[in-house]
């Protein structure tokens, strides 16, 4: 670098080089190379084969199903996540600690176990299965079951994002709005929602990525009915098991693309959030503030 002045607390140069090499090397071999490999494999037989693979009826159906699930799951989770965060951040009640722990449950349980639990509850041998069957409602091995497990799996993303945000913002703004005569609804839409919108969007982006990419739980409750209950990740597995590598990687490339879009959106939102937090630090927070619990 430029100069003889070394910071007294800096690490030795060789250590910095080593750490940098290890970190970047890991990123390169474990993240970047596989990502490139997906696209290389997908286009191995040329653009036409790629387009054909994606134009396949079953592939299109899998894409459609994946989008439908995300479309149903996200709004529900937005409402539930905001409600849970609101309850935790603004009220004190018995069992609050338990609720906070329960919100993290989907992160702690293996998705396959989640799928099995839903099978146990809604399946034919399960608790509610026969009752539902008698009324002609099909949950397991059908879309409703897949939506339910995806709801479960993606629930924590929004709440985990909003709880620390709402705690740090405190309730002063809301109290000010109420004392100025605002109703609860007016307060929420005019004061609270604008304050949490970027955090909410961040949670939605992460939840969306997971909803579209979820494999384990959905796999268990889907029943793998081709052209009916296969989402994109399940479809990729089936194609791959059939040694249809080009089609499998073509479908996988869509998921990889989704990942890239997610990362870009995440960066954009993070940048916006940082800017708002800087405005916040310029005098909106009480000194000392409240520490943020770490993200999962």
């Amino acid at each position: 670098m430029n100069g003889a002045i070394e910071k007294a607390n800096a690490e030795p140069r060789w250590l910095r080089a080593l750490l940098l090499f290890l970190g970047l090397g890991f990123l390169f071999f474990f993240l970047f190379v596989p990502l490139v490999a997906v696209f290389v494999e997908a286009f191995r037989s040329g653009w036409n084969a790629y387009a054909d693979a994606l134009g396949d009826r079953e592939t299109l159906h899998a894409i459609k199903l994946t989008i439908i699930i995300a479309f149903v799951v996200l709004p529900v989770n937005v409402v539930l996540g905001v409600a849970a965060s609101w309850a935790i951040a603004k009220f004190d009640f018995r069992g609050k600690g338990l609720l906070v722990t329960l919100i993290d449950l989907p992160f702690a349980v293996s998705p396959v176990v989640v799928g099995l639990v839903f099978l146990l509850i809604f399946g034919m041998q399960g608790l509610l299965g026969p009752w539902l069957e008698a009324r002609g409602i099909k949950v397991v091995f059908a879309l409703p079951g897949m939506i339910l497990v995806t709801l479960f799996i993606t629930f924590p993303f929004i709440a985990r994002e909003l709880i620390p945000l709402m705690l740090s913002q405190g309730a002063d703004d809301e109290e000010a709005a109420i004392s100025l005569g605002a109703s609860g609804v007016q307060m929420f839409f005019r004061v609270t929602l604008p304050k949490i919108r970027w955090g909410l969007l961040y949670g939605v982006i992460l939840a969306n990525a997971r909803a579209m990419g979820e494999f384990g739980a959905v796999s268990v409750v889907s029943g793998h009915i081709r052209g009916e209950t296969n989402t994109l990740p399940l479809h990729v597995e089936i194609l791959y098991n059939e040694y249809n590598a080009v089609a499998a990687f073509a479908s996988a490339s869509i998921l990889a693309l989704l990942a890239l879009v997610t990362l870009a959106a995440k960066m954009l939102v993070e940048w916006r959030m940082r800017r708002e937090n800087e405005a916040l630090d310029a005098g909106f927070l009480p000194e000392g503030g409240i520490s943020f619990p770490s993200r999962p």
Partner: protein, 361 residues
């Protein structure tokens, strides 16, 4: 007129308020003064309807408001950290209370605009209407927060440590400004502070609180020069505390007040304690009738005043002199001087009552 009668509030095992009785006459500016944890903010929030009392009643102009929702109380609340809506411009912040009114009461856009600009003119910040809160200084934000609270024409204005987040110079300017504003709009106002100087300078009436109770209510002059309890004495300014000295040589100085103290001394558990303000101590360079001999331990010049630490026998005494007086005496460390209290106040105090709060020596 706001009447608070016998209000109590507990948080778990902590008694925040205990049997509070207080009347706030219309148009007065009242300060709730006390150390942190004394319950002053809780009382303010109960008046605002943001907390519900466990016991007691709140009446606004004779009407029971104890169970009235904060939305319906017509109370303007100003927060220590402003609580401005940071995604709205200054104009929209001030207009908020008017915009959220039910449709049939809501003024027209032109009317809202007129009223907001009237308020911004009142606080002399109309040139900031299009700015956002993050672009304003702390003092400006607090004035905007005040205008926002006034926009809904509240019956009472409540301010929670309104100058607490500002630096000393701005704080002094802003509290004078608040006093002038109050003289202009004459709305009943209650503000919470832990800064005795602020309370004494701004308020018509000071309510001194300690441990969930009211210690004294009076004009700033009354509470300062005639404190009702040792706590008030210690909390309002510096004070020298002399224990177990009243029967001894101090008695001769304090003869007049001693009678008063003995009247209350039926309880054997209490002992009389003398309080003397540092600025009520005179220092002479030579022997004077009734003065005590002492040694100068230290001399600090703090702006216009000179603080002198004296040692009398084993006791440390703090005195405050004007710069002129100190210069005339030309005090130096180790020098022997004579001091004489001009004014002494004696209270009968239970053994442990002097430990908390205040700045006694």
């Amino acid at each position: 007129m706001i009447e608070i009668s016998n209000v109590g509030k507990r948080f778990g095992n902590f008694t925040a308020l205990d049997g509070i009785d207080l009347k706030i006459p219309t148009g007065e500016l009242v300060a709730l003064l006390g150390p942190s944890g004394c319950g002053k903010t809780t009382l303010l929030r109960i008046i605002a309807g943001m907390e519900t009392p466990d016991a007691g009643k709140i009446r606004f102009a004779g009407e029971d408001a104890t169970r009235l929702h904060a939305r319906e109380r017509r109370v303007g609340f100003v927060f220590q950290h402003y609580a401005l809506f940071r995604h709205m411009s200054v104009f929209e912040n001030v207009a908020f209370g008017l915009r959220v009114k039910p449709r049939k009461e809501r003024p027209t856009d032109a009317e809202i605009r007129r009223r907001v600009f009237d308020l911004l003119k009142l606080i002399q910040l109309e040139w900031l209407a299009d700015r956002y809160p993050s672009q304003l200084s702390g003092g400006q934000r607090q004035r905007i927060a005040l205008a926002r609270a006034l926009a809904v024409e509240p019956k009472v204005l409540l301010l929670d440590e309104p100058f607490g987040a500002l630096d000393t110079k701005v704080r002094k300017e802003l509290r004078r400004w608040l006093r002038r504003l109050h003289d202009e709009v004459h709305i009943s106002s209650v503000f919470v502070t832990h800064d005795q100087e602020e309370a004494l300078e701004v308020a018509d009436r000071v309510v001194v609180m300690n441990r969930g109770r009211i210690e004294q209510i009076g004009t700033p002059d009354e509470v300062y020069s005639n404190p009702a309890s040792p706590f008030v004495y210690q909390f309002l300014g510096n004070v020298n505390v002399f224990r177990d000295r009243v029967q001894g040589r101090w008695a001769s100085v304090a003869n007049e007040t001693l009678d008063e103290a003995e009247n209350g001394a039926e309880n054997a558990e209490t002992n009389p304690v003398a309080f003397v303000r540092p600025h009520d101590i005179e220092i002479e360079a030579s022997v004077v009738e009734g003065a005590f001999e002492s040694t100068v331990k230290d001399v600090h010049t703090i702006g216009p005043i000179v603080r002198v630490e004296l040692v009398h026998e084993t006791e440390l005494i703090e005195a405050e002199l004007t710069r002129e007086r100190a210069n005339a005496l030309s005090l130096s460390r180790g020098q022997t001087v004579w001091f004489k209290p001009r004014q002494i106040k004696i209270f009968n105090v239970p053994g442990n009552a002097l430990e908390e709060g205040g700045s006694g020596i």
